[in-house]
């Protein structure tokens, strides 16, 4: 084939390709109808979320922020575990205890009434491991007729040691409660068990 002949063939092919394609006007309608009739696959939100999570892709994260997030998560888990451990031993009800302070339950704390008969006292305070043995923290209120001093304190379940302080200087145990051993500081004190096994 001569060179001229080759050009003619190429030119004819180019003309054919440049000419507009005649499409059957009904073809487009048939295609749309076929698409409309075919079922559309449905993808649930869960599947989309899983796909979003599972799809591998590069993520830009600062190591510092990652460490901070990890520490926060660990602290949260630790505190949740502590809270679970503590609430795990909370009783639902408190039986009445003969003698000693009166105990009434309310959620995790139990209202405990402390009473002292001290007719000649000018002031009576309650001190114990629940208030840091602070003589100014929990004063008792005198009864209207005088002589009987009382206060109600919400206490967590457990064993609590306490004393009364009369007139700001005289520490005395609760005469109606169980006695606690000497605390190494020469303090006479009493014991109340709060919770399931109140005393």
């Amino acid at each position: 084939m001569s060179e001229r002949r080759e050009f003619d063939v190429i030119d004819a092919a180019a003309r054919t390709l440049r000419s507009p394609v005649v499409v059957d006007p009904a073809a487009k309608q048939r295609l749309v109808a076929a698409l409309r009739d075919s079922p559309v696959p449905r993808v649930g939100a869960g599947r989309r979320a899983w796909h979003w999570i599972a799809r591998p892709r590069p993520v830009m994260v600062s190591p510092l922020w990652t460490a901070a997030a990890a520490v926060l998560i660990m602290i949260g888990v630790f505190r949740a575990a502590i809270g679970w451990e503590r609430t795990g031993e909370q009783p639902a009800a408190v039986p009445p205890a003969p003698g000693g302070p009166a105990v009434a339950a309310a959620s995790n704390l139990h209202a405990v009434q402390f009473v002292l008969v001290a007719p000649g006292a000018a002031s009576v305070a309650l001190v114990g491991d629940f208030n840091g043995w602070d003589t100014g923290e929990t004063p008792l209120a005198p009864s209207a007729s005088g002589g009987l001093w009382s206060v109600e304190v919400p206490l967590a379940p457990g064993r609590h040691v306490y004393s009364f302080v009369v007139d700001g200087r005289r520490w005395i145990p609760d005469p109606s409660a169980a006695r606690a051993p000497d605390s190494d500081f020469g303090t006479p004190s009493s014991v109340v068990l709060v919770g399931e096994r109140s005393l």
């Binding site: 600062s62 510092l64 922020w65 460490a67 901070a68 520490v71 926060l72 602290i75 630790f78 502590i82 503590r86 031993e89 039986p95 205890a97 003969p98 003698g99 001190v127 491991d129 840091g132 043995w133 602070d134 003589t135 379940p157 457990g158 064993r159 040691v161 169980a178 006695r179 606690a180 051993p181 000497d182 605390s183 190494d184 500081f185 020469g186 303090t187 014991v191 068990l193 919770g195 096994r197 005393l199």
Partner: protein
């Protein structure tokens, strides 16, 4: 740079409360810094040794009691260290125990109860709590009942698996009897014998043991606060 500073601030804020330990903040302003550091170290050591973390609060409370009583720093530290050691011994004697049981057992050791008694008490009530029994045991000793006698009486009750109400009643009756002039050891032995004699689970052997004559002889029988015995 500013972002990194913010990150560190968040990290420090998150770590600070956990590191400080909420219970130790109660010591702030109540004891000097050296005493505070010593108490934190004792509590940390006790926790590392296996004591429940809740008991650290009891150690802090003991220090606060010392501070309220105006005790010297050395005396406060000694008291806290001694309490931590007793808690460890109590836990070892009891085996698996709730914090309140360890707390009560540590105080029982304080009044002279033997670790073996704690183990026997646990064996007598393997599934029940022993905190009430221990509190009553300490109360009896504090009212003048010899520790050996009080231990035997409480063990005898525990072996019959009496309820908490029995311990409550025993404590009240003995206190009332002593207040009325009875000798502590006689009051405790008599009341316990009555419980065992009338209780559903009692046996003649147990009743005999709690009322054994050896329990009420050769011991101080002077009521607490009463006049001294004649020479």
């Amino acid at each position: 740079m500013r972002r990194h500073v913010l990150s560190l601030a968040v990290l420090a804020a998150a770590l600070a409360p956990a590191a400080a330990g909420a219970q130790f903040t109660r010591l702030d302003g109540r004891v000097d810094e050296g005493t505070r550091s010593a108490i934190v170290a004792i509590a940390d050591s006790a926790t590392l040794a296996g004591l429940p973390a809740e008991l650290a609060d009891k150690l802090v409370s003991r220090a606060l009691l010392g501070a309220s009583r105006g005790a010297a720093p050395g005396a406060i530290i000694d008291a806290v260290r001694s309490l931590a050691q007793r808690m460890g011994s109590a836990q070892q004697a009891l085996g698996p125990a709730r914090p309140v049981e360890i707390d009560a057992a540590a105080e029982a050791l304080r009044v002279g109860v033997q670790p073996l008694t704690l183990s026997q008490l646990r064996s007598a009530q393997p599934r029940g709590a022993v905190d009430v029994a221990l509190v009553v045991l300490v109360d009896l000793v504090q009212r003048g009942v010899p520790v050996d006698t009080a231990s035997r009486l409480i063990l005898a009750l525990a072996e019959t698996r009496v309820g908490d109400g029995v311990y409550h009643a025993l404590r009240e009756h003995v206190a009332r009897d002593i207040g009325a002039g009875a000798l502590p050891v006689v009051a405790a032995a008599t009341r316990t014998r009555g419980v065992l004699a009338t209780g559903a689970a009692t046996t003649a052997d147990q009743a005999e043991r709690v009322a054994a004559p050896g329990d009420i002889t050769g011991v101080s029988t002077r009521p607490r606060g009463g006049p001294p015995p004649p020479p």
